[in-house]
Point group: C2
Chain length 271, copies 2
């Protein structure tokens, strides 16, 4: 099967990137304006938090995108699916780590992925409060604020693998995967739990050897595969299933190939 992304020329990729980065700029401006002006926090039906900043940022992104491409597909955490059959789809989590954001912790971020016929073409992880933006275009490398990234940058700097994990509650949400969590914690005593796209940024820059998500919606991983692969790493989907009212949720591990393979094998034994 031919990779559908081959049909997208270099100039078209760069035009898509320019459009997407402009929308992310506007998203970051909206978030910063909400922080400056104050924002509302509400509890969603599933118990998770949403703020007026999440809604405003996703609305602005949708309006900007549809103004320039009325046929664009959009899947957003807060406002659902638009133009479901479009060839190009933008997937957005306007504020990943809302619980952190609502508490004014700076490591939250915006996640944007652009897909062509389900293949990841562009990924952006933007951290407005950290002044840090990671992006990648399929075939053109991964960058943080313009600097090329490699998952191997700090390989071997210190003994012991640094693995990012989601919180234990993620392993219990849809089904009891306590055994997977326990096996991971036992095998990787230097694990970290940052629990936002901040961890994905750290993987892309080599600061974490690898990280994982467990049973998480598409928008949380929207940017990660293309960024990690373009930074020379591996991305493995561990499992996927349907969560009523949310859609497909995914478990994945990504980072340096050697660590990713080891983690994937361990998860397979315990899941």
């Amino acid at each position: 099967m031919t990779d559908p992304r081959r049909q997208i020329s270099g100039p078209e990729r760069r035009a898509l990137l320019e459009l997407t980065l402009g929308l992310v700029d506007a998203c970051a401006d909206t978030i910063r304006a909400c922080v400056a002006a104050g924002f509302e926090v509400e509890r969603k039906a599933d118990g998770s938090l949403v703020t007026s900043a999440d809604i405003a940022a996703e609305k602005g992104f949708r309006e900007g995108l549809l103004a320039s491409r009325p046929d664009a597909g959009i899947l957003g955490e807060e406002l659902g699916l638009t133009n479901a059959d479009a060839d190009f789809r933008w997937v957005i989590d306007p504020i990943d780590g809302t619980a952190e954001f609502a508490r004014h912790m700076p490591i939250y971020g915006s996640i944007v992925g652009v897909y062509y016929r389900d293949a990841p073409l562009i990924g952006v992880l933007d951290h407005p409060a950290l002044g840090m933006r990671v992006h990648a275009v399929h075939g053109e490398g991964a960058f943080a604020n313009g600097r090329p990234l490699s998952v191997e940058t700090y390989a071997g700097l210190a003994p012991g693998v640094r693995l990012g994990l989601p919180s234990r509650s993620s392993f219990l949400k849809d089904s009891d995967n306590e055994a997977v969590h326990q096996a991971l914690v036992a095998a990787y005593p230097n694990f970290r739990v940052y629990h936002t796209c901040y961890a994905h940024t750290l993987v892309a820059s080599g600061a974490l050897d690898a990280s994982m998500e467990w049973d998480t919606p598409a928008w949380d991983l929207a940017a990660t595969r293309v960024i990690v692969e373009e930074a020379g790493g591996r991305y493995v989907t561990l499992r996927e299933h349907d969560r009523p009212g949310v859609g497909t949720v995914y478990s994945a591990v990504f980072g340096r190939a050697a660590v990713v393979e080891e983690v994937a094998a361990l998860v397979e034994r315990y899941a």
Copy 2:
């Protein structure tokens, strides 16, 4: 027993704070200059990392302090103890989270505590890469970049306690406290592992309900007690013992009183 800190007048406290914040400013300048110019990373005898930035920052702090107060006591992570019998002692960890810093992760920070006859008088947690500084003076409140802090700010924002934990490896370093770690992970499924003074900053601002350290040297906790108490929280030392070549190491939990008491009781059952 009278609190020795009562002997320190308001003007004297403010002079000590001004001196200390000036030294932290210089420390941050040194760290930023090292980041810009590049720095060396080495492995210490205990396997942990040290960079040329750690050494340069602590040296600058010591020289600046002794130039203005030649009789000052100083305990630093990298360069040991000076003027051991002094009434006033500055305790400094120039870069807490060196492993993070060496990988260019932004959440590392400088920790400074000022003690008068062993009682914590001033605490500073400075995050040069985040543009965030927390400080407190005994009896005068805790502040982040001048804004007053309370550990209760986000209490009840979402269900479930957010507890910061050190990595599992900390619980295994000096003796086997696997049972304590397991009990904490079981009781607090929404736990986080940030593993630097960043977690202490989050507690002071209420973003984490509480956080813990396990078997960690004095400099890692140098600023925390006075900051958390001045932000309206509680600080409980869970245990302390001598680690050869390092000195006394401490385990502590700190944050919102209700959570701190619950965690302390749980640790007592399993330690």
